[in-house]
């Protein structure tokens, strides 16, 4: 799942090295519109629909945080 998340991130913002960051939002690698795009991509890839309450920047600040929000919303590893 981590590798797939990194692939999707790279697809959205190819100019950044997401593995070198511990906080994608703080480091200016993802903005609000990127997060909306990422949610769409994650929903489509994992066949889920992420709850609106979970769409907050801190849930998309790292691969670990994204994995947690995916699992919470029913995605399978």
């Amino acid at each position: 799942m981590e590798n797939k998340i990194l692939d999707l991130l790279k697809g959205i913002r190819p100019e950044f090295d997401f593995q070198a960051s511990s906080d994608f939002v703080e480091d200016g690698m993802l903005d609000s519109f990127d997060i909306v795009t990422l949610v769409d991509e994650l929903d489509r890839h994992y066949g889920i629909s992420i709850d609106g309450i979970d769409i907050v920047p801190e849930n998309f600040a790292s691969v670990g945080a994204i994995r947690a929000v995916l699992l919470k919303n029913g995605a399978r590893e």
């Binding site: 913002r13 100019e15 200016g28 690698m29 609000s32 519109f33 629909s49 709850d51 609106g52 309450i53």
Partner: protein
């Protein structure tokens, strides 16, 4: 419309709308510091209509309409209820050009009329060439520049489409060293407002006074901006789609459209950008 008196109540209201929504629509991304300022100034009201929370940010002579909606149906019902109000309401829809047409059409079908469109441009990495320091004649703005910059904004920018900051807000940006000015004969020939956020640098405004065009004021400001943004690897900005000259200049400096559009809509059909 009820006046909002605490940031906490707004955040809780937004959470209530978001909870359980699987197709959330919003043009509001909370910034607690800004929210506290708006509330402290008595500029923010709200109303919930058919499940959508609307926030009304008071501007000089209109209300900027922000929404958090659980679905497109709920948003459409809410916009219908608001469209006939006597106040000028201005709202925006940010979406990818390719897939966002449906959202633009939705707002248009529910009593709001297109006013202007902004497009986002971006570039990766610094342009070739050296930016060893601030260009000659360019300096960071000082507190005393705030009223002059505010006046230029009022005179040369569109308040509905381009969000004119107050003199106080400009003062705060000057304090954060986010505004550059280029002076000539004691007058502001041009200024540039930017915001650096980690690896992304956002060019918020780049202005050259018409009397100082063709004197390289713009390129001096932009070169100085690139120097100050040296750690950034992504550069973004929004520009009016109709401003072809500005877009050409940005493209000259390596920017290109990245597919994101910002549609500005008003409930008053007779309002048109530039008129």
């Amino acid at each position: 419309m009820d006046l909002i008196t605490s940031p906490r109540s707004v955040l809780e209201e937004i959470e209530a709308v978001k909870r359980g929504s699987r197709s959330l629509l919003t043009n509001y991304y909370p910034n607690e510091e800004l929210l506290a300022r708006w509330i402290g100034a008595g500029d923010l009201s709200w109303e919930r209509i058919a499940g959508t929370t609307f926030l009304f940010k008071r501007e000089e002579d209109f209300l900027r309409l922000l929404y958090v909606s659980p679905s497109s149906e709920a948003l459409g019902t809410g916009l219908d209820a608001l469209a006939g109000r006597s106040e000028i309401l201005v709202t925006e829809v940010i979406a990818k050009a390719a897939s966002g047409r449906a959202l633009f059409d939705l707002v248009g079908r529910h009593g709001f009329h297109p006013y202007a469109t902004l497009v986002r441009l971006s570039r990766t990495g610094l342009p070739a060439g050296s930016f060893a320091g601030l260009a000659e004649g360019v300096r960071l703005a000082a507190a005393a520049d705030a009223p002059r910059i505010h006046r230029l904004l009022i005179e040369h920018f569109d308040r509905f489409a381009e969000q004119i900051q107050s003199s106080g807000e400009i003062g705060r940006e000057i304090g954060a060293e986010r505004i550059l000015v280029c002076e000539s004969d004691g007058q502001i020939a041009g200024f540039l407002h930017f915001e650096l956020s980690g690896l992304t640098s956002h060019l918020r405004r780049w202005f050259v006074h018409p009397r100082f065009r063709d004197l390289h004021v713009g390129s001096k400001l932009l070169g100085s901006y690139f120097f100050l943004s040296g750690k950034a690897s992504r550069f973004i900005l929004w520009v009016l789609q109709s401003n072809e000259n500005a877009i050409k200049r940005y493209i000259h400096f390596g920017y290109q459209e990245d597919g994101l559009h910002d549609g500005i809509f008003s409930n008053k059909e007779q309002m048109r950008y530039g008129e």
